[in-house]
Amino acid sequence: MDTTLLIFLLVVVVLFVIGFLLLRHYEKQNNNAARRLKLAAQPYAFIGPVLILLLLAFGWPLINSFIMAFQNYKLTAPNAIRFNGLDNFQKLFDDSDIWLIITNSFVYVIVSVLGQFLLGMILALALRRKFRGRGVYQALVFLPWAFSAFVIGLIFRWSFNGEYGVINDLLVKMGLITEKIAWLGTPGLSLLVVILAMIWMGVPFFAIMILAALQSIPADVYEAADMDGCGPIRRYFAITLPYIKPTIIMTLLLRTIWIFNSFDLIVVITGGGPANFSQTLPSYMYTKAFSSYDFGLAAALGVLLIVILGVYAVFFLRVTKYNKAGDF
């Protein structure tokens, strides 16, 4: 373990002990004013460390990104760093691939989210009633949630390998195709493989969320519906769906952002290829930043990302009335 990490961990522990001792010290004093002050300060003392860490770690880089977006900032030329106005944005939209990449991003997000949602819903409905071994079954079927996108990417990249891949072999054996398909080398198909991997990875999450919501529906509602002679399909649309709607909306919206931002699968499976046909905005930003070390251009891409996500976040807050509730 490197010494810096060790020192840091020690500092954290020492701070904890000091905080603990201080609080105990004040606790013993019976001075009324001091006690009231302490009570008011307590929550801030508890959450302070988290808040400061997060503000530093997210605030500073965000401000920095904005500044870099208007700079000629290449890591390869550290002495030539200066402001260059809108040059980076000019370069960004002169790039003939940018519209392809924006389209890819939306296709990737929409298809993945819908796939995860539909399959997750079906799985949750199937899991709803108790059966023997449900605990074990869940532990297995929810496993992909705990898996790293990186390893999932490896599995899919290997399975869809054009020459040695098991998918081609199965399709040929079933007589569905006669010639092996170069999945990862064909525009359109490479993005499809990424989407399939993303769906595989995300179904458990949706199933978990929807299942929890389903289990919170009181049973007597269904009893009443049964007495009124409600069929299963009508029951689903008239009772089940309205009940779990808030969960569904919240999960869908949050998941959309998460998928939009995540690109490890792309890096592992296709590397954005062939020729940017499976590149999305964040993965393109990664590629731009760390293949050409043009941080200015990457930061300009980042600003574009923030604009898109900002619009989305406003929409999100409107739909969920998240801030009106004032509470989660």
Partner: protein, 280 residues
């Protein structure tokens, strides 16, 4: 159709569906495992793809450790992930407690801020941090990864911990304070023991989050002796002659710790996920 036939049909359909889902999850894992136990010649025999190893071998696993120093990668990953898990858990207990038990000015904007941090693309933060860490001379250290994993896992874990606290009736604490316990005594002797499963679940979240991360790893780490598991395996794909058997062996070993943690803690992890994620 009589109701009974109908019910039987429904049950059969349900069982079939569940079986299909299970197959869908297990087959890719099976394929990875099978590949990892085949000798290289069998893996790249395109004419005859075998669905069970003809020759069963551990050569891939051996190579992983002898040629690619996988032991060191696992060690690096363990150091970074357990420090992340530990510190995230400690900070989440404090933060979660404040959010669950106090009403204070700025609380709702804090919660909103936590949500917003979850919306920010990681790569946007990574690039400036890369510059910062380079200047601070902590690039290519465990500390750089630890710091990044700490801040990316904190918001979700604090929110999750908060909802674990909220499930414990406040009367429990009141009773303790009537009996003369101080706040800290109550927290450590009464509340935390009851919450133990929740605390372990939060540790598992942070550990898995750090263990599975690839992108920041590829950027902050640049010498092989510091590689974490995903970064090390990623560098193997880049090689001209990809040894898929070795990669799959590495993948299996990378999944094991998180899979075991998840299987053991499934109930609490699922609880934490639903509590924390619906809400943020």
């Amino acid at each position: 159709m009589t109701p009974r036939v109908k019910r039987n049909l429904l049950t059969t359909g349900r069982v079939l569906l569940l079986a299909l889902f299970l197959l869908g999850v297990l087959l890719p894992i099976y394929w990875m495992a099978v590949t990892s136990f085949k000798p290289h010649a069998e893996v790249i025999n395109a004419q005859n793809i075998t669905y069970f190893p003809q020759t069963f071998t551990l050569e891939n696993y051996n190579q992983l450790f002898s040629m690619y120093d996988y032991g060191q990668m696992i060690k690096n990953s363990l150091i970074v992930s357990s420090s992340t898990g530990l510190v995230v858990t400690l900070l989440s207990i404090l933060g979660g407690y404040a959010l669950a038990r106090y009403n204070f000015r700025g609380k709702s904007s804090m919660l909103l801020f936590f949500l917003i941090t979850q919306m920010i693309p990681g790569i946007l933060v990574i690039i400036p941090l890369f510059i910062l860490f380079t200047n601070a001379k902590i690039i290519n250290t465990h500390l750089s990864l630890f710091l990044f994993y700490l801040v990316t896992n904190l918001p979700f874990c604090v929110i999750t911990m908060r909802s674990f606290f909220e499930r414990i009736p406040y009367t429990l604490e009141e009773a303790a304070s009537v009996d003369g316990c101080t706040k800290w005594q109550t927290l450590f002797r009464i509340v935390l023991p009851v919450m133990f499963p929740g605390i372990v679940a939060v540790f598992v979240f942070a550990f898995i989050g750090a263990w599975n991360e690839l992108i920041a790893g590829t950027i902050f780490i640049n010498t092989p002796d510091m590689w974490t598991v995903p970064v090390g395996l990623k560098s193997l794909i880049g090689k001209y002659d990809v040894k898929w058997g070795v990669l799959m062996a590495g993948g299996i070993l990378a999944l094991l710790p998180t899979a075991i943690m998840f299987a053991v803690m499934q109930r609490f992890v699922v609880e934490g996920l639903t509590a924390g994620a619906v809400k943020g």
